[in-house]
């Protein structure tokens, strides 16, 4: 607080202050979740907005990530005569790292910014205050449904991303570059471990990334100054903070889950 009030430009202190405020905000949102179950329809509406509406970008990007990955790997592996492992390496790369991380980055850019801008504009146009005065708790009606929707949508989007990534890898590896179809699938199914790669890689990571991105997006929107400049800065901060948090947490989670 002093850093802001006193005009200190200590960026470390300001960042720590933001993290502290964000942590307290998370507690308030978690406390509001039981009350937000009354607004199930709003949660479903948000799930559509952040989940279903993000499908196009997730599917297109998943497809191209898989395609380019197969193309690069095929050329590298062909040096060692190991092109048969293309499917395996594509799958493991996508399940363990690229799937959750790229989905989360895309989710932050597509849905996170939209959540921040929407809540920020609701604050700027007094819609949040109007809810308070209509005896409707904005944390339960606005913040918690968006947070929940993000946590639920991220693993589902990540699964779609991974499926399209594998399909893209198959398209390039088998259809274009001529790897044997049976070798591609059998090597992949023999190597991919459901617990290590799917549960730890896809599910756990995307759940954590979904919670972090949604929290940052809702927090930035909820606490933004009610001005057009404030909303613009808040959306930018959502992307920057989410990207850093995703990549940093990816390292931490990988270290713990491996």
């Amino acid at each position: 607080m002093n850093a802001r009030m006193g005009g200190s430009d200590n960026i470390v202190m300001r960042s720590l202050e933001q993290i502290g405020e964000c942590g307290l905000f998370l507690l308030r949102v978690l406390a509001a979740i039981p009350r937000s179950l009354r607004y199930l329809r709003e949660t479903v509406r948000q799930l559509w907005f952040v989940g279903a509406m993000s499908l196009t970008i997730i599917m297109v990007c998943g497809l191209f990530v898989g395609m380019v990955l197969a193309l690069q790997l095929y050329h590298v592996l062909s040096i060692f005569g190991g092109t048969a492992a293309t499917g395996t390496v594509v799958a493991i790369s996508i399940y363990r790292e690229l799937g959750p991380v790229v989905t989360a980055l895309l989710f932050a850019g597509r849905a996170g910014t939209a959540i921040t801008a929407e809540i920020g504009l609701m604050r700027a146009t007094d819609q949040i205050a109007a809810m308070e005065l209509m005896a409707v708790d904005p944390l339960s009606y606005v913040a918690a449904p968006r947070f929940l929707a993000g946590v639920i949508a991220m693993p589902l989007l990540c699964c779609v991303f991974c499926a399209l990534g594998i399909f893209g890898g198959h398209l390039v590896g088998v259809t274009w570059l001529g790897i044997d179809n049976g070798t591609f699938w059998s090597n992949m199914t023999a190597t991919v471990d459901v617990w290590q790669d799917i549960v730890n890689g896809v599910i756990w990571k995307s759940l954590v990334f979904g919670a972090v991105v949604s929290l940052i997006a809702v927090f930035q929107g909820y606490t933004t100054p009610p001005t057009s400049e404030g909303v613009a800065y808040a959306t930018t901060r959502t992307v920057v903070a989410s990207s850093i948090a995703i990549l940093a947490l990816d390292f931490v989670l990988t270290a713990f889950l491996m």
Partner: protein, 278 residues
């Protein structure tokens, strides 16, 4: 701690403010101010910009806490209420925002229905009838299917008014309800405020600057300046009051107890002139 709800139907004062003191960003907004809002009347709060009129409404609704003093609404001390009790009280208060504050995701019908859907389990038919009745009262039943972005400023204000009265509140707070309205819309809003007050017995508090409009609709006027009530009474009494405050405010004069200029350095020096120079 929650104050017990005390029914005070015999009390002629709905909102009682005593010793209200508020300091915002180092500036004293209210200085031990006393003020009473009579039940069933239309009361106007007037005063120069920045005197805390909207802040006063925020104290009444419990959006903002004062540094000292008591704000009682229908006998309940608002700052002492817990969240549940405050929300219960707010269900009986309507609030009209200066910018309408309609929910942009919903159409006009759903905006007006919003409080009913959140706080009641009424059947859809009944909700529809209540909403259409309120929209008819503000002359916008035909606009039920429009989105807020399709409404003019005056229409949005009337939709917000329909939403504010959908629960038949005991008190409505109007924050600058006449700003940006054309004469027709202004007249309609004035009539609505009066009609709601007379037919439903709703107590109304208006924060506004438009003296002519206020004279038509208000039963009682408070003039606030320097953190205190500097004049109050019915519109005629206020108009005839010869105090420097009322003379300056209602006469629109730059000179008087309310400074027109924000405190600043010497004007000549700011323009680069030195004292004694021709």
């Amino acid at each position: 701690m929650t104050e017990p709800v005390r029914a005070k139907s015999d009390d002629r004062v709905l909102v009682r403010i005593r010793g209200l003191s508020t300091v915002l960003s180092g500036k004293k907004v209210f200085d031990a101010m006393d003020l009473d809002i009579p039940r069933g009347k239309v009361t106007a709060i007037m005063g120069p910009s920045g005197t805390g009129k909207t802040t006063l409404l925020k104290h009444i609704t419990g959006q903002m806490r004062s540094d000292a003093g008591e704000v009682r609404v229908d006998g309940q001390n608002v700052p002492a209420l817990d969240r549940e009790a405050l929300y219960t009280l707010r269900e009986r208060i309507g609030y009209l925002f200066q910018n309408s504050a309609l929910l942009t995701d919903f159409d006009v019908f759903e905006n007006v229905a919003f409080p009913l859907r959140q706080h009641t389990r009424l059947p859809e038919v009944l909700i529809r009838n209540i909403v259409l009745t309120k929209l008819q009262a503000v002359g916008l039943r035909g606009a039920a299917g429009l989105m807020p972005s399709e409404l003019s400023g005056g229409m949005a204000r009337r939709v917000a008014l329909a939403r504010a009265i959908v629960f038949d509140p005991m008190l409505i707070l109007y924050d600058e309800p006449f700003v940006g309205l054309d004469p027709i819309a202004l007249n309609q809003v004035l009539k609505l405020i009066r009609t709601l007050n007379e037919t439903l017995g709703i107590t109304s508090v208006l924060v506004a600057h438009e003296l002519e409009a206020i004279k038509q609709v208000a039963d009682h006027i408070y003039l606030i300046a320097n953190g205190k009530v500097v004049a109050h009474g019915d519109p005629k009494t206020i108009a005839d009051d010869g105090s420097p405050w009322t003379r300056q405010f209602f006469g629109g004069e730059a000179d008087g107890p309310v400074p027109f200029q924000y405190p600043a350095d010497d004007y000549a020096e700011a323009l680069g002139f030195k004292r004694g120079e021709a």
